[in-house]
């Protein structure tokens, strides 16, 4: 499997979040909190999770939903699962 390009991965995940949460990609900084800063709710988080699963053909266990609080953590989670 080709090595994942981290910069691309960040950009792709950002675009997924941007589309679902309907916020400008510039606002999605690594530390911006999904709920407090980007106005997301738990269902949007679930949609992001489902989109990432489909896009990267990974399975993200339900308990990880709580970890999806900002871009940085989402990126870490996907990176871990993609490299497995």
């Amino acid at each position: 499997m080709p090595k994942i390009n981290m910069q691309n991965l960040e950009k792709e995940i950002k675009s997924v979040i941007s589309e679902i949460a309907e916020v400008e990609p510039e606002k999605i900084t690594p530390e911006a909190n999904f709920v407090e800063d980007l106005g997301m709710d738990s269902m949007m988080a679930l949609e992001i999770l489902a989109s990432l699963e489909k896009k990267y053909k990974i399975k993200i266990p339900e308990e990880n939903l709580m970890k999806l609080t900002n871009l940085k953590q989402t990126l870490e989670l996907v990176k871990d699962l993609v490299n497995k």
């Binding site: 709710d41 738990s42 269902m43 949007m44 679930l46 949609e47 489902a50 339900e62």
Partner: protein, 141 residues
């Protein structure tokens, strides 16, 4: 497994004129459900939509798909099934639905967690797809 109206009323909290599933002809909990909605000329919404040409409103086709989707979560062991609310829908309407049509809605899960889920729905009449969509739900706490 087939589910009749009594079971549907246990699973769904909607009532007349908003109970949009007449029968569930196939049910595998959390895996697949097929709901049937017979569209009669006497449906209250046909009075105004439209007086000169009766077409089932797309939002109500969505409602049939959403309610069939909520059936996927039905758990007969639970004393009371939760009420679900919609977070988002992504729907495409392909053909008009008119009085006399039997809507058949097949739903499958995209992702289900213990209190929320995303489902896929395909609505058809006589084997022809009339609408399809993706729905995100959450149980009201």
């Amino acid at each position: 497994m087939e589910l009749g109206l009594n079971t549907i009323k246990k699973a769904l909290h909607q009532r007349y004129p908003f109970l949009m599933v007449d029968r569930v002809i196939e049910f595998e909990k959390g895996k697949r459900a097929i709901g049937i909605k017979n569209v009669s000329v006497n449906e209250p919404f046909f009075q105004g939509h439209f007086p000169e040409r009766k077409i089932m409103p797309g939002v109500l086709i969505s409602e049939v798909m959403a309610q069939t989707g909520a059936m996927l979560f039905y758990d007969e062991d639970k004393k009371e099934n939760p009420t679900y609310y919609l977070g988002s829908i992504k729907t495409r309407f392909l053909q008009p639905v008119v009085p006399g049509d039997t809507l058949r809605v097949e739903v499958t899960p995209v992702k289900i967690t213990k209190d929320a889920g995303i489902i896929n729905a395909i609505a058809s009449v006589n084997g022809k797809t009339v609408a399809k969509g993706e729905f995100t739900f959450k149980a009201i706490q």
